[in-house]
Symmetry: C2
Subunit: 341 residues, 2 copies
DNA sequence: CTTCTCCCTGCAATCGATTGCAGGGATCTT
DNA sequence: AAGATCCCTGCAATCGATTGCAGGGAGAAG
C-alpha cells in the first residue's frame, strides 16, 4: 500500500534503478528475463510511477489548459467535448480554467503556462488587448485561440481556429429579410470588442446590400445573457414603430427577446420573427423553436485541439496556423410564418 | 525570455539558491535588503517557478480531478461551477476527467491519482462495484463521492455528499397523487444499481402509502436519456389503460416523455401530468414548463469540494464524512391542471 | 587465439525547487 | 569581557525518474 519507487523495485529484483526505468518505459536495451522479473515485481508491489518526477525530468506535463470565459454557458460544453475527444486519443488531460470574462484571470491562466503547469492552452477570449497578446506571444508553450483575431502586424505566434461569425449574423439577417421582413433590429455584444464588432458588421452589411436603412435606435449593445436580450427587446417593443424581426448575436439573448415578446403579448413569429446564433441544444427546446446559426462548437474544439497536438508533437512548427469554419443556418419556427410551432 | 531558475537569480544577485528560495517563498529567515534585491532580479528576469520541481519536492500538486460520467449532461455543469468556486478560493486547479459511464475509465481516473497527478478527486459514479471501491480505498489521496452509497461493512475510507434522491422521487410522486391522479407510471434507471434502485423505492413507497397498486407494466428501466424516456412513454401511451401521470427519474427522460405525449396527441398536464427530477435550466424552458425536483447540484459540488479541501488541509482527518442534502420540489405547469402553461 | 560486434547493465549526473543543519556576525545580558 | 541569543546565509541532501557513458560478457569473424 505504501508508495514504492523504482529504487524499491530495483532493490527487490537485485538490479539498478536505471534498468528498472528501462524495463518499464521500454526505452533503451533491456534483457527479456530481467524485464519480466521487473514487470512482475512492479505488479506485485503495486507500483505507480510518480507524475511529478516524470514531469520534471521529461519537461512535459501531458496536460493542456482550456481557458473559458463562462462555465455556465452551454456553448462551451460542446467545445469541451470536442477538445476532450482529441486529448484522450493523444493521452493528454484537460485542466479547466474559468476566466470569468476577466483580463486578470486570463493573465493567471497564462501565468500557469509559464510555470509549466501544462504543455499548451486553448483559449476563448473576449479581452484581446495588447497586454494579454504580448503575454501569449512571450510564452514558450503553444496557444490556440478560438476567436477570429486580426493581428495588427502579423507577428503573433499563436494559432487560431474560428467560425466566421460575421457570416453567421449575415446569414441570419438575410434569412429574415428573405421572409419579407423589412423593419429589423439587432442586439449584440460590445462594439469595442473585435468579435462584437464583426457580428454587427454582418448585420449592417446584410441590411445595406438589401437596400434597407440602418437605424441606431434599433441596434443594442448588450452582454450575451438572456436578461440582456430581454431588456433590449422590452425597450423596442413598446415603441410605436416596433421591429418585425430581431437578430440576436447569440441564442441566450434571442431567448430573452422571446420572453419579452411573450410578456408584451406579441406572437412569434407572426408579430416578431427572431433568429439567434450558437444553435444550442436549447434552441430546439424552447417554444417556439428558435431559428439559429450553428457555430459548430464541437468541431471547433476538435480542430483547436488537433492544432495544439500538432504543435506539441513538433510537426507544423513553422508559420501561424489559422482555420476558418463556415457557419450554417438552422431554420426553425421562430422565423417562419407559415409553419406550425 | 529564456527559462530562468533560482540558480540564475542566485548567481546574478550573488547569493545562494537557498536564499533565493527563502526570499521568494517567504518561508524561513531572509534579510530585508537581500530579499528586495532578489525580488527585483526575479522581476527583471521574468522568473516563473517550475511547477514540476515544486510538485516533486513538496509532494503536492494543488490540482484535483473531477471525474464525471457524461460531459454532455447539463446536470454536471452546475456541479463544476460549485466545485470551481471552492477550488479557486483555495488555489487549486481542476482536471476534468470524462468517465463515459464506464468502469474502465473510472479506474483510469483512480490510476491518475495513484500517480500523483492530483491531490484528490471528486467523483460521480454509477458503477459502484467491488473493483472500484477497493481501488479507491487503497488510495492515499482523499476521494469524495457524490452519490449515496451504503457501505456493506462501514469500512470505506471515502467521504460522500449527496442528495437523497429516494426522497426526491417520493416528493414528486406524492405531488402527482396530491393532484388526484391515481393511475401512475415510473421511468427510472437500472434497478441493479444503488441509485436507480433507491429512486424506484421512493416511487414504490409513495404509492403504497397512498394505498395505490403497483403495476410492473408501468415501471420502466431506462437510461436517463431523452430518448429513453421517449421510448418508455410511447409504449405506455398506446395502451388502453394509459397512465394519467408519469414520474421520471430525471428531467431529460421527462422531456422525452413530453415529446411522446405530443406525438400521441395527448395534452400535458390535462391528459398526462409529468414530473421530472434535477431541475435543469431546461425544465423552465420547455413547453409546458416542467415540474421537477431540484437536486441542488451546485451546492453539492461546493460541499464536496469543501470536504475535500478539509481532508487535504489535514483537518477532519478522522472518521468518514457524509453529508445529505434534502431535495426540493419546484412546481410548474406540467403537473398542475388549473394553471396556464 | 585474438579481435570486433552487439547486448545488457550499472554509475552518476540531471531536471528545479525546498529545507535541516551548522557557522558567522551582530546585539544584548550579566 | 565572556557568554547567550537572535538573524541571516550557505552547504548539501532530497524528492523520483531518465539517460549518456562506459564496462563486461557472449558470440561471431578472421
Amino acid at each position: 500500500m505504501d508508495k514504492h519507487t523504482i529504487y524499491h523495485i530495483a532493490e527487490r529484483v537485485g538490479v539498478s534503478p536505471s534498468t528498472v526505468s528501462r524495463a518499464l518505459s521500454g526505452r533503451g536495451y533491456c534483457g527479456e528475463a530481467t524485464k519480466a522479473k521487473i514487470l512482475r515485481a512492479a505488479q506485485e508491489m503495486n507500483y505507480a510511477p510518480d507524475n511529478a518526477a516524470k514531469m520534471l525530468k521529461m519537461r512535459q506535463t501531458r496536460k493542456i489548459i482550456f481557458a473559458v470565459p463562462d462555465i455556465c454557458n452551454p456553448f462551451y460544453f460542446d467545445m469541451i467535448n470536442g477538445i476532450n475527444q482529441v486529448l484522450e486519443e493523444h493521452g493528454y488531460l484537460m485542466i479547466l480554467f474559468y476566466t470569468k470574462h476577466s483580463l486578470a484571470e486570463e493573465l493567471k491562466a497564462i501565468q500557469n503556462l509559464r510555470e509549466n503547469v501544462a504543455d499548451g492552452m486553448i483559449m476563448v477570449s473576449f479581452n484581446f488587448c495588447e497586454e494579454n497578446i504580448r503575454a501569449i506571444n512571450a510564452l514558450q508553450a503553444p496557444v490556440v485561440l478560438t476567436n477570429q483575431y486580426v493581428s495588427p502586424d502579423g507577428q503573433d505566434k499563436f494559432d487560431y481556429v474560428y467560425v466566421d461569425t460575421y457570416e453567421g449574423i449575415r446569414l441570419g439577417t438575410e434569412h429574415l429579410i428573405g421572409q419579407g421582413i423589412r423593419h429589423l433590429a439587432y442586439v449584440g455584444g460590445s462594439l469595442n470588442e473585435q468579435t462584437g464588432y464583426q457580428r454587427f458588421c454582418g448585420y449592417k452589411e446584410a441590411m445595406q446590400d438589401a437596400g434597407l436603412p440602418l437605424d441606431d435606435r434599433f441596434v443594442a449593445e448588450s452582454d450575451y445573457t438572456e436578461n440582456g436580450g430581454y431588456l433590449a427587446a422590452l425597450n423596442w417593443l413598446n415603441q410605436p414603430d416596433r421591429p418585425e424581426g430581431i437578430v440576436a448575436a447569440n441564442d441566450l439573448m434571442a431567448i430573452g427577446v422571446m420572453k419579452a415578446c411573450e410578456e408584451a403579448g406579441l406572437r412569434v413569429p407572426e408579430d416578431v420573427a427572431i433568429v439567434g446564433m450558437d444553435n444550442l441544444d436549447l434552441a430546439s427546446r424552447v417554444y417556439p423553436k428558435l431559428t439559429s446559426v450553428a457555430l459548430l462548437q464541437e468541431e471547433i474544439g476538435r480542430q483547436a485541439a488537433l492544432m495544439l497536438m500538432k504543435r506539441l508533437e513538433g510537426r507544423h512548427s513553422a508559420g501561424k496556423g489559422a482555420l476558418k469554419l463556415r457557419p450554417r443556418l438552422v431554420v426553425r419556427n421562430s422565423s417562419v410564418r407559415d409553419r406550425q410551432a
